[in-house]
Amino acid sequence: MSPTDPTRTDPAQNDPLLRVSGLNKSFGDNEVLRSIDLNVQAGQVLALVGPSGSGKTTVLRCLNGLERPDAGTVDFSAGPAVTFSEKTTRRQKESLRTRSAMVFQGYNLFPHKTVLQNVTEGPIQVQKRPKAEAIAEAERLLERVGLAEKRDDYPHQLSGGQQQRVGIVRALAQQPSLLLFDEPTSALDPELVGDVLTVIKELAEEGWTMVLVTHELAFAREVADTVVFMDGGVVVEQGPAQEVLRAPKQERTRAFVHRLLNPF
């Protein structure tokens, strides 16, 4: 997590780290994603916003290989591009997984493992990194988010905000080139939201590349470089955060932003 971290790319470089084009996905008759195109520059933060059911989660899941798109290409600069079709194998889909790490809305921590075990499970069991090294790294990351003394607690002993910070550390411990956040604070008590947002903001400032789904428009405006507004499975509008969120060009975007900022 220091700026010399080998897994991270220099933000100045300004290459697209991730290029997604023509992504399509249906569940049965329900066309959930239609021709989604996205570019994420290395070191930048892309915020994905839009109404419920618009397909934001599905986009993240396609990037992380949890869902198989029906068509489209996902091209990480870190490895071979994957073009999806009927014939795409499970192995190809799964090859995407190692390049990104996901932080879930509901944390999805492993309830039967301690905080430290949650974080080191991937590095030790999957990546087969030396145990001592993985533990040292995990401790460093936990320290970083203020949870060093919680290392031997079980998730249920933590508050929601603490659990989500563990979720973030678990993702970081994967040493991914891209971090995916799916509404990381929407399950939290309002007072606990701040702790998590602060951590995410710091990661952004340190140059991590991320795709962030959120309903916290104020936060998106502050932290994101690019904002993509989706509705009904299509990208309605995308551009610099300030533009899309302050002065949206599309009527649908405008209505959405207005509804969220002035609920009554």
Partner: protein, 224 residues
């Protein structure tokens, strides 16, 4: 209404033979069959859950047949039926096979439900940290499913304790067989059967304590 005379001397004399039948027959038979049955149940549960229609169909048919037919008939088929097809198995192995197959059928659905009760997000969290299906199952899902399945499996277990009495029909001596022998000699079948029932009950009470312990151990990572 009057209390019947009770032959206390007979009750005392028969206690040790009954207990011995329990310790050398009922309990080892139960433990062996339950262990093997659980392993079979896990395989069946995974067949039901996994993607393959064929495997899932086989497992369903097996489970349905086991649960739909009397255990006594299952014992008879294995012990008295198979020899006519050239396969003769000794009483104890036959009993263990039959009871394991039976437990397998009943426990499969319990284990399947327990696995399905683990939130999908746990599988997904496993996948996103790079685990294979197998790794996620072994390291994340089964440990969590274990907790959920202890109470219903303990029902299966307690039923098994009592069902082992049927082993006497295939030449295995356990507690109920001892009870029948004593009853036949003394002609006091009520007294002896009730005494046997009380011993079964004590076994079950002990097992409930073990279940409680196990639950509490597995509970350590769960709120409350």
């Amino acid at each position: 209404m009057e209390m019947p005379d009770i032959d206390w001397q007979l009750a005392i004399d028969s206690f040790w033979p009954l207990l011995r039948g329990g310790l050398t027959g009922t309990i080892p038979l139960t433990l062996a069959s339950f262990t093997l049955g659980l392993a079979l149940a896990l395989v069946l549960a995974l067949m039901r859950i996994g993607g393959s229609r064929v495997l899932s169909g086989i497992a369903r048919a097996y489970i349905s047949a086991i649960r739909g037919t009397p255990l006594l008939v299952q014992l008879f088929v294995i012990f008295y039926g198979l020899p006519s097809m050239g396969l003769t198995i000794d009483p104890w192995p036959s009993a263990i096979i039959a009871f394991s197959m039976n437990v397998g059928g009943y426990a499969a659905e319990v284990i399947r439900a327990a696995i399905l009760s683990v939130p999908k997000g746990q599988w997904e969290a496993g996948y996103t940290i790079g685990m294979s299906r197998n790794q996620a199952l072994r390291r994340l899902i089964l440990p969590q499913a274990a907790r959920v399945s202890v109470p219903p499996l303990s029902n299966t277990f307690i039923s098994l304790v009592k069902d082992t009495s049927l082993a006497s029909t295939i030449l295995v001596t356990e507690m109920f067989r001892e009870a029948q022998q004593i009853a036949a000699f003394s002609q006091e079948f009520m007294l002896i059967y009730v005494e046997a029932a009380v011993i079964y009950w004590v076994f079950c009470l002990v097992l409930s304590t073990v279940q409680d312990r196990l639950e509490r151990r597995l509970d350590r990572y769960v709120a409350h």
